[in-house]
């Protein structure tokens, strides 16, 4: 079921690259979102992520979406077990945030944008 929606997926990944190109000079936040096919969870995760980034990191972030069904060999490098997983590559320390990113507070904590009270 997941594999049938590959076409749509390609669109999202192109979309994801657009802001990255535009704001090349001050990319301080390098984010990678690993998904497995075009599932409800992965779509939701990308929407949530964009929303958060636009609110908190406008102009200083890049998002790369990796579909593990199309590039399974990439799962090993970032030690991906759960999907969706958001990996904050930069700034260090590396952090993994798993789930559909629906809990904005926790995402912000995970991104070290907010400390946990």
């Amino acid at each position: 079921m997941k594999k049938t929606k590959v076409l749509k997926k390609a669109k999202t990944s192109r979309k994801a690259k657009t802001p990255r190109k535009a704001k090349t000079p001050k990319k301080l936040w390098e984010l990678r979102l690993y998904v497995a096919g075009q599932t409800e969870k992965s779509v939701l995760a990308l929407i949530n992520l964009k929303k958060i980034c636009e609110t908190h990191l406008q102009g200083v972030y890049s998002i790369e979406v990796i579909d593990l069904l199309r590039q399974p060999q990439l799962a090993k490098g970032d030690q991906i077990v759960a999907t969706p997983t958001l990996v904050k590559k930069l700034p260090v320390p590396v952090k993994r945030i798993i789930g559909d990113l629906s809990d904005t507070e926790r995402v912000l904590v995970g991104l070290n944008l907010k400390s946990l009270r």
Partner: protein
Amino acid sequence: MTKKNSKSQSQTRSQKQNSQPADIPKVKTGIKGLDHILHGGLPKGRPTMVCGSAGCGKTVLAMEFLVRGVRDHNEPGVFFSFEESEAELILNFSPLNYNLPELIKNNSLRIDCIRIEKSEIEETGEYDLEGLFVRLEQAIDEIGAKRVVLDTIEALFSGLKNQFVLRAELRRLFHWLKAKGVTAIITGEKGEGQFTRQGLEEYVSDCVIFLDNRVINEISTRRIRIVKYRGSMHASDEYPFLIDNTGFSVIPISALTLDHKASKERVSSGVADLDEMLDGQGYYKGSSILISGMAGSGKTSLGASFAEAACKRGEKTLYFCFEESQDQLFRNMESIGVHLSKWEKKGLLKVVATRPSFYGIEMHLLQMYKEIENFEPACLVVDPISNMNSVGNFNEIRAMMMRLIDILKSRQITSIFTSLKSAQSVMEEADGGISSLIDTWISVREVANGNEQNRALCILKSRGMPHSNKIREFILTAKGVKLVDIYKTSSGVLTGAARRADTAARAAGVIASGLNKGGQP
């Protein structure tokens, strides 16, 4: 010995399942003895749970399953490690001759480390473990793996918080593995009151193997038990197993039966005079001989003489020494003209010297079994079996002896056991209650005479042959063991110097006839 933690509901369930008559397709593990107790191997294309506490050998079993799959059955395998990295695993397995780097190089083995760092992970909302599935599939397909190990998947539980997701996904994973058609081993840490900490046996319910490392009297023994096996018969006892530089081995000892052949062939005892007492021909080939006696009565000398004679006939001989080192044994036996070292150099004699307290009693048996398997001797000496007292009680020694003698008889190995008897002990007890298992029983004792302590020997029993009923004096000379008639005179039994004086006097013709000489042999 109490069997704790073994009464879980899965066990009773398994008994119902095992009543099916026809066996399911199986995959040979290739591990010595394990296939035997599994009645052929692990269930083909299904996951098997291997559980036990830390350090009981789960990872070794799992790795050997893969390595043997590659070597013996040409089946590639993937090892998913949730604990150790690839480099660590290769290093840890280097003492075992698995040669992992080469297997990895020619794509017959893959080690994939799946690391979950809790501190790096934040959970927000819904997720699944599709990432894990993708990785498993990728690795399995890459080398066309038929065998898969997940060691230990429970590590996921410490990394991820959402138990509901985890359990649902694990259930899906095990179904997925089945659908993939790979034979898998999943390891799990032993939990309180259940086989694994997270109750994984609920999901992997086709075959459950339990490993145990028990310490009794400060000596640890590893044991393995097949807890359940759906759709198949299996041996249900606990079996000792061993991990050494050749890997994992299990002995299905109690699977032996009383149906060995009895040979009519005879072998020399290594002492001409003793052969004479045994119907002039010595022991039966493949029989078991017990030599019992007190300290210093010459048991080892008889054992060594037998070993030397066997080597002279060109028969391989295995000598288990529980008191002396090999060097010490060789030196001491030189003094009575028994030269063992040259046979050792020629490869006909093998001496295995260990302290009884080195292992538990089961372990000794296993070790002996392995040595017998590898060396394939025709004759065997255990010197002395009574030293096992320090590691086992009466019943355990008896059970061990029974199994050992069964192994030896089924292979037609002539074997000598020496047994040390303390002055006070009842005969039966001192010999580990093994006399009923023994075909020929020779007793050596000390006879005090005048100001001397001399040795005397008699045959207490020797099944299936006429044998001398005489007690004879037993002399250790520089040319080996000699048995001479005991002189009985009017002043009593003469041994040692008194006997010599009497013989000399007789030869000189001084002593009048009328004194009785001991009976003819």
